[in-house]
């Protein structure tokens, strides 16, 4: 009997503690939730504008294409496609802008988990700028393409290239390129 009471006490204390912690977390979550959601939305929005500036972005149905996260028609100018290829440290969430004649207008990286100073250099503007104006399909220099891979971060470079190619192939498949 005494033993059962002791176990009940242990359970009770732990349960109470967990409940208090859960309550506090729910509270913190309720204050930060909107801010976090707004941050993410704002970032995606800024990325869209960065790769292809347009007045309005109309969402496109991406069907069951697993490689494409989101896709938008950017006025008459072209398309903005969100892809998330697997890099070295996880998914690289990125936005690719493609003009109406099938050329890349810009590449933006929304979030990533690549190694600092190596893969993370993919966010550098001068590196991303290499993609601009290319079309068809791209490849890193090691694979005989035009994109100079980041030093010590071939995996990341290849992942970004794959994302760009997925976006290009998707836009191509729409069959509306000039």
């Amino acid at each position: 009997m005494k033993n059962a009471l002791y176990i009940a006490r242990l359970t009770g204390v732990l349960l109470l503690l967990t409940a208090v912690v859960a309550g506090m977390l729910a509270f913190v979550n309720s204050i930060t939730k909107d801010s976090i959601a707004a941050q993410t939305a704002e970032k995606a929005d800024a990325a869209k504008r960065q790769v292809l500036e347009a007045e309005t972005y109309t969402a496109l149905d991406t069907g069951d294409n697993a490689a494409i996260k989101e896709a938008y028609v950017a006025d008459e100018l072209g398309f903005v496609v969100r892809v998330a290829p697997n890099g070295y440290g996880g998914e690289i969430d990125m936005m690719v802008g493609i003009s109406a004649d099938g050329k890349i207008t810009g590449v933006a990286i929304i979030s990533h988990a690549e190694t600092a100073s190596l893969g993370a250099e993919a966010t550098r503007e001068d590196w991303r700028a290499q993609f601009e104006g290319l079309g068809g399909s791209v490849a890193v220099d090691k694979d005989g393409g035009a994109i100079e891979a980041l030093t010590g971060a071939t995996v990341t470079s290849r992942a970004v290239v794959k994302g760009v190619n997925d976006a290009l192939a998707f836009v191509e498949s729409l069959g509306v390129l000039e």
Binding site: T18, L25, G90, A113
Partner: protein, 197 residues
């Protein structure tokens, strides 16, 4: 077939390319703490493989069937660590009853698995990478195998290092860290090594 390929890639990555200890820096504390002798290292490794595989499966299920439907993802860290702590306790009780010899050998280090970042790390990474149940299970088990590989290799290095002559200030822990660094350097050879992509 594609499932097999994806599982093979995950395994290879977890064991060699993104070795939990030497590349990702998860679980350094037990790595340094239990690597003085090869046989304890092997025992610890076994326990970690076991716990990581079960923890991956359990946390995946908890996340998919409890946290996501009830919109409680912000409780992830708290819930995962509790699940892991409970699992470790179970393994400890099991070993104590069934394999007392191993229990004796691992002694104080078994409770330390709870605070092994590799275990919580694998649970969080499974979710982050969007793995399915099978993929999570395999990633957990092979991550543990990678841990074991590193710790066993390193313990053999360390056994020999005991007798070597090095500057007094570097004796013990610091020289061990540097040796571990060299091992990490060797594992870097696997980086960018990809099959079936």
């Amino acid at each position: 077939m594609s499932l097999f390929i994806s599982l093979f890639t995950i395994s290879l990555n977890a064991i060699l390319v993104e070795n939990f200890i030497l590349v990702k820096f998860y679980g350094i504390c037990p790595f340094m703490g239990v690597s003085k002798k090869a046989d304890t290292a092997l025992g610890m490794g076994g326990a970690v493989i076991f716990v990581m595989a079960i923890a991956s499966a359990a946390t995946w299920a908890v996340n998919t069937y409890l946290l996501l439907p009830f919109d409680l993802v912000y409780m992830q860290t708290v819930v995962f660590i509790l699940v892991i702590a409970a699992l470790v306790q179970l393994v400890e009780m099991f070993l104590q009853k069934v394999v007392p010899a191993l229990y004796q050998a691992l002694g104080v280090y078994l409770p330390l698995i709870t605070t092994n970042c590799a275990v919580l790390g694998v649970a969080l990474l499974n979710i982050q990478n969007g793995y399915s149940f099978i993929e999570s299970l395999v990633f957990g088990a092979t991550g543990g195998i990678g841990f074991t590989l590193a710790i066993v290799l390193f313990s053999s290095v360390r056994e020999r290092m005991e007798d070597c002559d090095c500057p007094k200030a570097f004796k013990g822990f610091p020289i061990a860290l540097i040796a571990a660094g060299l091992l990490a350097l060797a594992f870097m050879g696997f980086s960018g090594f990809k099959v079936f992509t």
